[in-house]
C-alpha cells in the first residue's frame, strides 16, 4: 500500500538546454540594464562635473585595477575552457578549471578588500567626514558611484563563486555531464557577464583621468 503511495512516477526528462540558455540570457539582460542604468548615471554626472571626476579618479590605483582586469580575464578563459573539457568528457579537467576560476575570483575579492581598505584609511567611504567636509559635490558623486558600482560588481563576484560551488558539485557527482552541461554553461555565462561589466568599470573609473 505504502509502496503505491510512494510509487515513483517516472517524470519525463525535463532537461532542456535551449530553455535553460534562454532563461539565463533573459536574466543577464536584466543585469545588463541594471548596470547600464548606473553607467548612464555615471556618464551624466561625469558630463556635469568633468573636473571633479578628473581629480577624483587620480585617487584610484590604476595598477591594482589593471591587475584585477587581467586576472578576471584569465578566469573567464578558464571557466570557458571547463565547458570544453566537460563536452570532451574530461571530468577532472573540467572540475580543476572551475576550481582555478574560483580561486581567481577569491583573489579578485582580496585585491578589492585591500583597495577599499586603502580608501577607508584615507578617510574615504560613503558619508565619511572627510568626504562631506573636504570634497566638492562632483568628487562625492564620483566616490559614491565608485563604491556602489564596484561594490555591486563585487557582490556579483560572490554570487558567481556560489554558483561555481554548485557547478563543481554537479560535475563531481555526475549530474552535470557532457550530455547535460547546462548548469556549467550557465555558470560560465554568469561569470562572463561579471567580466563584461568589469571591462567597462575599469576604464571608466581607473583609466579616464
Amino acid at each position: 500500500m505504502a509502496e503505491h503511495q510512494h510509487a515513483h512516477v517516472e517524470h519525463p526528462d525535463m532537461y532542456d538546454p535551449e530553455s535553460s540558455k534562454i532563461g539565463m540570457w533573459l536574466f543577464i539582460f536584466t543585469e545588463l540594464l541594471l548596470f547600464g542604468g548606473l553607467f548612464i548615471v555615471y556618464s551624466v554626472y561625469r558630463y556635469l562635473n568633468p573636473d571633479a571626476f578628473h581629480l577624483a579618479a587620480e585617487e584610484l590605483n590604476t595598477f591594482i585595477g589593471a591587475f584585477n582586469t587581467v586576472i578576471l580575464l584569465v578566469s573567464s578563459m578558464t571557466i570557458a575552457m571547463s565547458t570544453t573539457a566537460l563536452q570532451k568528457g574530461h571530468k577532472k579537467v573540467a572540475i580543476a578549471l572551475v576550481v582555478i576560476t574560483f580561486i581567481i575570483g577569491i583573489g579578485f575579492l582580496v585585491n578589492k578588500y585591500f583597495e577599499w581598505g586603502v580608501k577607508f584609511s584615507h578617510g574615504i567611504w560613503p558619508g565619511s567626514e572627510q568626504m562631506l567636509n573636504e570634497m566638492s559635490q562632483g568628487e562625492i558623486l564620483f566616490f559614491g558611484l565608485y563604491f556602489v558600482m564596484t561594490g555591486l560588481h563585487a557582490l556579483h563576484i560572490i554570487v558567481g563563486l556560489i554558483i561555481m560551488g554548485f557547478a563543481i558539485k554537479g560535475v563531481a557527482n555526475g549530474k552535470v555531464n557532457a550530455k547535460r552541461p547546462s548548469l556549467l554553461d550557465n555558470c560560465g555565462l554568469y561569470w562572463h557577464l561579471v567580466d563584461l561589466i568589469w571591462i567597462f568599470l575599469f576604464p571608466l573609473f581607473y583609466l579616464i583621468h
Partner: protein, 96 residues
C-alpha cells in the same frame, strides 16, 4: 537528438587566442589613456572596452555558435541601452 549533436565544442586554443587579444587590448587601453588626448581619451577607452566586450560575447559567451534569435535578442538589449543613452544626452547636451 541531432540538435545535441551540432553543439559546437570550442577548442582550448581558440580561448587562449581570445584571452591574448583581450590582454593586448587591456594594455592598449592603458597605454592610450596615459597619453594626453584631451576629450578623445574617454572615446578611446570606450572603444577599447566595446571591442573587448564584443570578443567576450562572441567567443566566451558562445554567441558565435548560438542560434540567430539569441544573437538578435542580445543585439536588441544593447540597442535599447544605446537609445536610452542617446535620448538622455539629447536632453543634457541641449539644455539651456
Amino acid at each position: 537528438m541531432s540538435e545535441d549533436k551540432h553543439h559546437h565544442i570550442v577548442p582550448y586554443r581558440l580561448y587562449v587566442i581570445v584571452l591574448l587579444a583581450l590582454l593586448a587590448l587591456t594594455f592598449g587601453s592603458i597605454g592610450i589613456t596615459s597619453i594626453e588626448l584631451g576629450e578623445f581619451t574617454v572615446a578611446a577607452a570606450l572603444l577599447f572596452a566595446v571591442v573587448k566586450s564584443a570578443l567576450v560575447l562572441t567567443y566566451f559567451m558562445h554567441l558565435k555558435y548560438d542560434k540567430p534569435y539569441i544573437k538578435l535578442m542580445v543585439a536588441f538589449v544593447f540597442a535599447i541601452f544605446v537609445v536610452v543613452i542617446v535620448i538622455t544626452f539629447l536632453d543634457y547636451l541641449y539644455r539651456v
